[in-house]
């Protein structure tokens, strides 16, 4: 058994890594906040969240309409029990407060997690099989920690779902209540190009999304289809892409996904005793100085000499990252946000803003056994305003340890997901353009001079009718802007063709500051749901995903017209 001293030795044995520690010290603006205590990096294995397991079918329930939000509102979308397709699978997820170890040198912290875990269980969905997920709020009503409120709305970020299932911020449920979410698991408008890839689910309750997500309410939702299939590299279907990844069943019956690894990166801050800190007086964007991957500070991950698919999600409240491999090896990017790219793109590094996803293949084939390779963030950020600059050597977030050989039947085909209805087809249908100016004004956050108001509609796009939106930000602030319901094409960034990793579909895009500038996006606005046939209509939000800005009401809503 290890002693504390042994762990320290392991830390010392890894030499320079320990010295690099948590990276540049947080610059504390208002002198309010501590720096986190030292932790030895790379002593914990990267945790992998278990796969969400379906339960027996159950009758859907009416949505609760009496949960009171911190803005006093109660749910807008209140439906009776719903009829779901007979092939639906059912899930029961409990939001629970549970002790969690971020690092063995820190005390257990009581987090809020889906099934008590942070990140929550990973959903594995197959296009064509809808899910009905009942989320039950078991969060404590009188929580002593003071981070978050036990009020929930669940947003499946990047997902195509109806307004009542979208986690509209005032459609909440309180402690002791549950809400049923229907996820059609179908591509928007039935178009194969719109098959979803890496989604995530997280809390979206009005005004308190920041602390609730920070406390742990986030998890992965991976979607597969016939081509990017669950069987993955072992798929015998000649159409299958056979990207790295496969399902493995353990003798216990438990399944897990091998060689296809979702990793959520979050930054957190701890007080001198190792307890989680959040600052509700910080409206600029909360930054931590500890880098938490799948719930563990600076973990390690043992890999075989073969290809792996990694699905990176930036689940931080306000921090941007630019990720490199320490051996200079490139990444082969295969997906951005919710969509596979048309063609893989080889990059030395990639930037990832809050809520964005980038999927990459890393090929360890030409490494040596025993080799250690680090995933490094070289993007420095010292406040919630924007990332500062690339620095060297940066902060090591994760250590890959190459420790074995393994067969590799996977491949990365030259064509991943062709776009059949792209800007060429959509642009001639565009009748309306809109400009949204994301502004900081007098210490608060606005879009086109207005704060989110529960009772104001800011746009009325028509279903099935594409629009062009120009997203602007003044004052040197960066804003990762997320649009619900519809993913979009980036037509231009600062008037120029967007960089290579922004030429696929996106659901979140960073704007503002000298680096990001203004963007012009093309939004298709889907027309129909098919699993439960109905037109796409109703209220959805769009907002800054720097969650402190979102909670300070940098959010608008559009009402899709029939």
């Amino acid at each position: 058994m290890f002693s504390r001293r042994d762990i320290l030795k392991i830390g010392l044995a890894s030499g320079a890594y320990g010295a690099l520690g948590p990276g540049p010290r947080r610059r504390v603006f208002a002198d309010n906040l501590p720096s986190s205590p030292r932790t030895t990096p790379f002593v914990v294995a990267l945790p992998i969240a278990p796969i969400a397991q379906p339960t027996a079918a159950f009758a859907t329930r009416a949505d609760p309409g009496d949960c009171v939000n911190v803005d006093g509102s109660t749910a807008f979308h209140v439906h009776g029990p719903r009829v779901v397709p007979t092939n639906s699978q059912f899930f029961l997820i409990h939001e629970q407060a549970r002790p969690h170890s971020f690092h063995p040198q820190l005390p257990a912290n009581v987090i809020w997690g889906y099934n008590g875990m942070a990140p929550g269980p990973t959903f594995i969905a197959r296009s064509g099989t809808p899910f009905l997920v009942r989320f039950v709020n078991d969060l404590p009503q009188n929580d002593p920690v003071g981070i978050g409120e036990p009020i929930s709305a669940i947003h499946r970020h990047g997902g195509f779902q109806a307004e009542e299932d979208d986690g509209y911020p005032i459609d909440t449920f309180c402690t002791g209540q549950s809400r049923d979410y229907f996820y059609p698991n179908e591509p928007a408008d039935g178009l194969v190009q719109n098959e979803e890839s890496t989604l995530w689910y997280h809390d979206h309750a009005i005004d308190i999304t920041g602390p609730n997500v920070y406390r742990g309410l986030a998890g992965f939702y991976l979607s597969f289809d016939a081509v990017d299939s669950i069987a993955g590299e072992l798929d015998t279907n000649p159409q299958a892409l056979r990207l790295p990844g496969r399902m493995v069943s353990l003798p216990s019956g438990e399944q897990f996904r091998e060689f296809d690894v979702p990793i959520v990166i979050q930054d957190k801050l701890f007080d001198r005793n190792g307890f989680l800190v959040f600052d509700t007086f910080d409206h600029n964007g909360f930054l931590g100085d500890k880098f938490v991957l799948n719930g563990a500070i600076q973990p390690f991950f043992r890999v075989a000499r073969r290809k792996y698919r990694f699905r990176f999600l930036n689940g931080s409240n306000a921090r941007f990252y630019q990720l490199f491999l320490s051996n200079g090896q490139p990444f082969v990017a295969i997906a951005t946000d919710d969509s596979l790219l048309e063609h893989p793109v080889t990059v030395k590094s990639f930037e990832i803003g809050p809520a964005e996803r980038v999927e990459v293949v890393i090929d360890f084939t030409n490494t040596t056994l025993g080799q250690e390779i680090f995933l490094v963030n070289r993007l420095q950020q010292t406040d919630g305003r924007k990332p500062d600059q690339l620095v060297s050597p940066g902060t090591q977030l994760l250590k890959f340890i190459v420790d074995r050989d393994a067969a590799d039947p996977s491949r990365v085909p030259d064509t991943l997901r062709p776009v059949t209805v792209g800007p060429q087809q959509l642009l001639p249908q565009v009748k309306v353009k809109r400009t949204f100016d994301f502004e900081r004004s007098d210490g608060a956050w606005q879009i086109n001079g207005e704060f989110f108001d529960e009772n104001r509609i800011d746009a009325k796009p028509k279903r099935g009718t594409p629009e062009i939106w120009t997203l602007k930000s003044g004052g040197g602030w960066a804003h990762p802007v997320h649009v619900h319901l519809t993913d979009f094409f980036i037509l231009s960034r600062n008037g120029s063709t967007p960089p290579v990793l922004e030429r696929g579909r996106k659901d979140t895009v960073s704007i503002g500051g000298p680096d990001f500038g203004d963007v012009k996006i093309l939004l298709p606005f889907p027309a129909n749901f098919r699993a439960v046939p109905r037109p796409v209509t109703g209220r959805f939000v769009f907002h800054c995903h720097n969650i402190e800005h979102e909670d300070m009401r940098m959010m608008g809503q559009f009402d899709v017209q029939p």
């Binding site: 058994m1 603006f29 003071g146 897990f256 307890f275 001639p428 100016d437 009772n455």
Partner: protein
């Protein structure tokens, strides 16, 4: 590593952390959020009210109370008149709850010119009633307080412009440890609702559609324009 093995490794590490050779230290206890907020955000600086009374920020104005705090100065011509006007409307809407259930603290960013007498004139001119204090004090103290309460700008140039700090209302229920901020420039109805929720325990909040609809339904498609065929043609050329 399998998920089970991964979790086992985590568990081992946890156990390892707890079994060094020395006698076990008592585990640290999580901090009390009310005390943490007091220590980190509520400095006990000395201030003077518009009535000339010397007070301490924490001891006399905040401790055990529900407060709505904003920053202003008497000669401010930008956002302040609107913020103050909104707070005046909120004051009237709150009626006799002012001073009893909630205290307004308007803190001057112009300590030099905003003497208690000047602030008294300002309060009278705006019809500020009981339970609303206009406060002045030492410049450095107030700067400290402003930063601690989150009413600052990261850009030092903008931060130096005091008109930029007048758009927030910081709401606190000190004994409950509940703090939030809303914009002073939003609709007074929303400010009043937020103050009511700061005062009342959750179980007594006014709720639901009535809260939402107290501001009438509105459609405001700001920034919408019709696209011309020309414009689309240009975009099509640029995106072959």
């Amino acid at each position: 590593m399998t998920p089970v093995a991964t979790r086992l490794a985590g568990l081992l590490a946890l156990v390892a952390a707890g079994c060094s050779g020395r006698p076990p230290e008592p585990p640290p206890t999580p901090p009390n959020p009310v005390a943490t907020i007091r220590e980190q955000h509520l400095p006990n600086i000395e201030l003077v009210t518009h009535e000339g009374r010397r007070v301490r920020f924490y001891d006399d104005l905040v401790k055990g109370k529900v407060v709505a705090i904003n920053f202003m100065f008497a000669t401010c011509r930008n956002a302040c008149p609107e913020s103050t006007q909104h707070l005046v409307e909120v004051q009237h809407a709150l009626g006799d709850r002012m001073g009893r259930d909630v205290t307004f603290l308007s803190i001057s960013l112009d300590a030099e010119r905003d003497t208690p007498e000047v602030l008294r004139g300002y309060a009278e001119a705006h019809g500020a009633g009981p339970g609303w204090y206009f406060l002045t004090g030492k410049h450095d103290d107030i700067e400290l307080l402003r930063h601690k309460l989150g009413a600052y700008e990261l850009d030092p140039v903008i931060d130096a412009d005091r008109t930029q700090h007048t758009g927030l209302v910081i709401l606190g229920n000190e004994p409950a440890g509940r703090w939030k901020a809303i914009t002073a420039l939003g609709k007074p109805v929303r400010i009043r609702q937020a103050i009511e929720r700061t005062i009342l325990p959750v179980t007594e909040w006014p709720t639901g559609a009535a809260v939402v609809n107290e501001v009438p339904y509105e459609e405001n498609e700001r920034g919408k324009e019709v696209v011309t065929a020309d414009e689309v043609a240009k975009l099509l050329v640029r995106d072959p």
